[in-house]
Symmetry: C2
Subunit: 401 residues, 2 copies
Amino acid sequence: MDVIVGGGVVGLSVAWRMAREGRPVTVVDPAPGKGASYAAAGMLAPVSEVTYTEGPLLRLGVASLRRWPAFAAELAADAGFTAEGGVARAEARALDLRADGTLDVAFGADDMAALGELAAYMEKLGLPVERLTGRECRRLEPMLAPSVRGGLLAPGDAWVDPRRVTAALLAALERLGVPVVRARATGLLYEGGRVAGVRLAPPSSDQEPEHEPEHEHEPEHGPGEVPGEARGEVRGERVVVAAGAWSSELAEVPVRPVKGQIMRLRSPRPLLSRCVRGTVHGSPVYLVPRGDGELVVGATQEEMGFDTKVTAGGLYELLRDARELVPGVTELEVADVVAGLRPGTPDNLPLIGPSGTPGLAYATGHHRGGVLLAPLTTAILLGEESELAALCAPGRFREIS
Amino acid sequence: MDVIVGGGVVGLSVAWRMAREGRPVTVVDPAPGKGASYAAAGMLAPVSEVTYTEGPLLRLGVASLRRWPAFAAELAADAGFTAEGGVARAEARALDLRADGTLDVAFGADDMAALGELAAYMEKLGLPVERLTGRECRRLEPMLAPSVRGGLLAPGDAWVDPRRVTAALLAALERLGVPVVRARATGLLYEGGRVAGVRLAPPSSDQEPEHEPEHEHEPEHGPGEVPGEARGEVRGERVVVAAGAWSSELAEVPVRPVKGQIMRLRSPRPLLSRCVRGTVHGSPVYLVPRGDGELVVGATQEEMGFDTKVTAGGLYELLRDARELVPGVTELEVADVVAGLRPGTPDNLPLIGPSGTPGLAYATGHHRGGVLLAPLTTAILLGEESELAALCAPGRFREIS
């Protein structure tokens, strides 16, 4: 049996794809879906994200985005989410998957130059982008600020609601009979030089989920359902560490927490018809419209250790930058503000695959791309993607040191 | 019996002072303490408040502030709040009453001129103020922004925690055996040309308090404890409408809701030792430090009708202006953001005393001054303050129309 440590989008996706293939699997997480996935905006935007990153991550993102429509359709079906009409497209809608593109806008001459360079790079790679004037940007998105001077449309970029994705994954796991042990894994069990399972923290108040649990689609498993759980352990032939920012507490991985504060606004009618992003006061900000009128504003990037406080400064930056992009956000109600911890790595690429230790594998270090890269991550772990797997091989850090 | 409609600081204070004198009284409110008093910052600052107002309100404020120390001490004692040492000063501390003054600061030449005029006016009235340079301001409050050019210290200004005040008032009423009927008054009962009580709304879900109820010190009274309550009414010889912004739903008073959004930050150690206020981008902002490290940032003033949504724009203004005054707020955790409705009147003065209708009196229209003016309001209603009563006489609006 595989033991997946971590119940975020990555860990749950791995468990779901394994269970689908008939492989026995157990998930261990004190509060599934309430970590970084709970705070995530859900942008599936490898093209516009490349502004702030480089080639290998772009390749991973493009490959994973291509997998998302089928992944979402199969997930919605497995979860039993109501399909409108029963076709794959409608099932995907249950996760609020939309592929209406990202519009990256520029305010000043520097921004314009940066977008121009990005466009040239994209065109060289054969990725579809459209250069737009300020007027063309506002024709697409009339609520944009008058000060927007131009933009770049990545028409293939998409987004999804990560909270619906984790809810669907938990529902699918329940239907497939996969146990989800609600406990914290505190360490690895070894047996004959192999990792043979995880130790669990005793139940206590510090295992409470940080956020209000949503009870829909969450199966409950009391102690004892999984063999060994009553003794404070879960045993298996392989442990997959998918614990995000907390992975370094279990295994020797160069993963650090990168704090992100994010805000959800409530809009009586949609202000935007696609994702909009821009660089304001030197920091990137994005706005993601949901089907239910919610508008997500994200996100700060802070190196603060394991701190998940919502701060005055974080909120201020989000509000200031969102107003610069779309002044109309001022009127919207503040529905929710949370902080999450992204699992950052030294080269911004994830660690996916076998570790150096027998019986131990990783699916962590996804930084800002956990939701986007979840389908590709499962494919790599299941051996369906060998070329891209090399980019994510955990061994690359061992060789350096 | 008197029926007090409204369980904010004003209504509860009136009920408490009456009950103390042995007069039978009942309070009617669907969620006592959860209206404007819940959102209030609790500044007892008649001197610095006068910047934005005029003479009569200043007289009321100064007179009421003088009553606050004894009022607080008696209230804390009646509430049974633990007294440290048993002296009045310690009892007042239970309400977080502090009298360390308000520092009103200026950034630009216009602000400096306005503070100068205010200082001259205060000195003419014989009210103590001190003019300070920017350096002197920062000596008093080292966390102030370097851009502060000067200030005015009102050393007599004070503040109190309004949530502790309502909790104390509810506890005192319980100890005095005063019923608090948790229902909405929907109309007045008449009998022989007199007001003879109030009709109650039937219990329903829309009577839920807007905020999480705090159960401490809140007595519960089921239907039937007050005669007539089971029939959906509370009868009495006199009804005192103290329903704040909602007063106009019960009686013919020129009271309108003025929305205020306010934020509470959590500080590991106090950033300020007194209240600080200033005008930033044309709007007044103030910071009120509480004994427990909380720092209150207030408040927007919006004419939005009965709307209590926390908005992106409101939050943005508070954060932006607070940062200008005290840049260090950036690091603080956001503990709480709420919106409340102040009861505004055409001349910014409250309506206190008998209405034109027999059996009906008012204690409403306190706008931004409900907490400050509560002691004076009770004194006027109990006939202990005749001169200032004239300024608040509800008849002034009848005579005009």
